[in-house]
Amino acid sequence: MTRTTRAPQLPTRDVPMAISNVDIDTTALREHLFDHSAGALVTFEGWVRDHNEGREVLALDYEVYKPLAIAEGVRIIAEVSERYGVRQVLAVHREGSLTLGGCAVWVGVVSAHRDEAFKACRDIIDRIKVELPIWKKEHYSDGDSGWVNCERCASHAHG
């Protein structure tokens, strides 16, 4: 990279999307959302699962382009928060190596009532998965590995 970035490891009210290279502290994140005017908290966590598309998965590597992952995450959270009128959102995505059961992504939404918290949380994780510059390499039990969703990138041999 030609630019040095100081990406925060914890999301804040001002910058509610963070990229973390260490385990996500879900207990601390939940406490950061405490709010006496909120009646509902909905959280989503994505975990490293032992299988994907019929193959046995042992571990994952996440590569993240932090400046744009954070900027796009902040934009998504702002858009969804305004749409549903929720009180606050925080989100964290991991980078680096994770093993089975590891928490890859956490999204928490607080609002007055539950309906908007469920809808906003769902929209935010749906968009994080397809809009942020984040790539996932799966390591399989047979020793193989591969970048997820890259089957349409013709191999170099055919280029």
Partner: protein, 80 residues
């Protein structure tokens, strides 16, 4: 001719063997530059599944290029 800094990520980075390189190019658009660099990233057509950013702002495949731009080629993303 323009001098463009190209950043590769994930599969593209592995194929190119580097995460960044400076290239001299007459490409007018991000798509033209991508196609010129096919031997580096190994992909015939990026449209519909790859993304591109210019100078840390999300762009598209018609975005024009200027001398000194930094172009980021993103293979299909897979967050979460």
């Amino acid at each position: 001719m323009k001098t463009i800094t190209v950043n590769y990520f994930a599969l593209f980075r592995e194929r190119a063997g580097c995460d960044s390189e400076a290239v001299r190019s007459d490409a007018d658009t991000t798509l033209a530059l991508f196609l010129q660099l096919k031997d580096r990233h190994g992909t015939d057509d990026p449209r519909g599944h790859c993304k591109v950013a210019v100078n840390d702002v999300m762009a598209d495949w018609q975005t024009p290029l200027s001398d000194g731009d930094r172009v980021l080629f993103f293979p299909p993303v897979a967050g979460g």
